[in-house]
Amino acid sequence: MVDTAEAEHDELSPARSAMIYLVLLVLTVATYSLSRLHLGTWTLVIAMLIAIVKASLVALFFMQLWYHRGSVRLAIAIAVLWLFLLMFFVVADVKTRYPLANPTANPMLVGPSGP
């Protein structure tokens, strides 16, 4: 049962890809200008949201995920999920660890270059 072969015709048309290209450029400039506003913790959230939108645009249309069903989507979805899994547990460990077991509690750590 080979995955459903997608029809030839509904591949990415040049017009649509040009339009997506422009959207990506606009988003790049937008993320740069928004970051200059220094909104504190919000800068990270906004920058990440824009990055996720750009990345999914590239993945879905430029990399034709939009037109291929099944296992290819699963493969990259699991890889991205594992990325967040690793980041979640590493940061959770640092946040919930015994506070003095963190690198910041290093008595010798005076300057950037250590003792």
Partner: protein, 350 residues
Amino acid sequence: MNELLRNVLFLPEQASTFARKVDSLHYFVIITTMIMSTLVGLTALFFFVRFRRRSETQTTPLLNPPWWLETMFVVVPLAFFLFWFARGYTDYVELKTPPKNSMDVYVQAKQWMWKFSYPEGPNAIGVLRVPANRPVRLMMTSRDVIHSFFVPAFRVKQDVLPGRYTETWFEAIQPGRYQLLCAEYCGTNHSLMLGEVIVLRPDEFDSWLADQRRGRALQQDGAPTADEDVTRQADLVRQGERFAVQYGCVKCHSIDGSPHIGPTWLDLFLRREELEGGQTIIADEAYLTESMMDPRAKIVRGFNPVMPVFKGRLAGPEAAAIVEYIKSLRSEPLEQARSRRPVYEPIRSR
């Protein structure tokens, strides 16, 4: 029953409150496992004998387990596993939260030896004396690689990280001598990094501590390694201070961190100094002694070379005393840590 199982399983004696709890869970897990695996083994053996192949062309029925048997295969083991986990995890959380009234000891692990120092009292190499029936909290750090403080009799183990602090605690229940081992691989003599925890009766311990503080007890604890003989450091530091005043060092070197003619002595020990020539060195004992004897050899950037030469005026032990005094001038990160943030953060208040 406890003693029987402990001997059968080759477990060391239970010398701490935590050991007793851990062993009871250990027995429960081992007994259930033994029963279950013998049952599974016997059924397999029975099937094997009962259903051995009689003829080459024999066909066997197509059998698939009914849904309830399938869920039994999942639910029964999972129930046991999660129950053990719940029990084990609560003990673990208790191990991670030292009680409020526990006595503090600072442990410093160094490649292949243990150093213990009591907040106000003496230091000891390789031998940790603790009172019985009183929780003892260990604040541990390492000077080079990861070590691990492991006392089998207490069932307690905690990795010791370089450059930061990890903590653990135990409450010994009976006096005695228990071996301390390093459990995290730390190099060539990892297997020689042994030590001893001597549990004394509370009154014995208090008298020992008092003796130590008065400095009268002259016998050294444990076998000091070659490069670090233990004299009564408290005396040495005081002598060093007297020499520093006598020879006028403190006229140019401040001891509270404030800028002065010479580099400040606060936190000077093991600090990375930027020299005139541009290269950086670590201010260890060798550098300190050398800059006393020949100050112009290494000038710290930003200071002019006005320091007089003390070669010939300072005797060896006097120089060593001043170095010890400089080493004692630390901005006490431990106290600072304790004051800056509450160190006792029990996950569950006890």
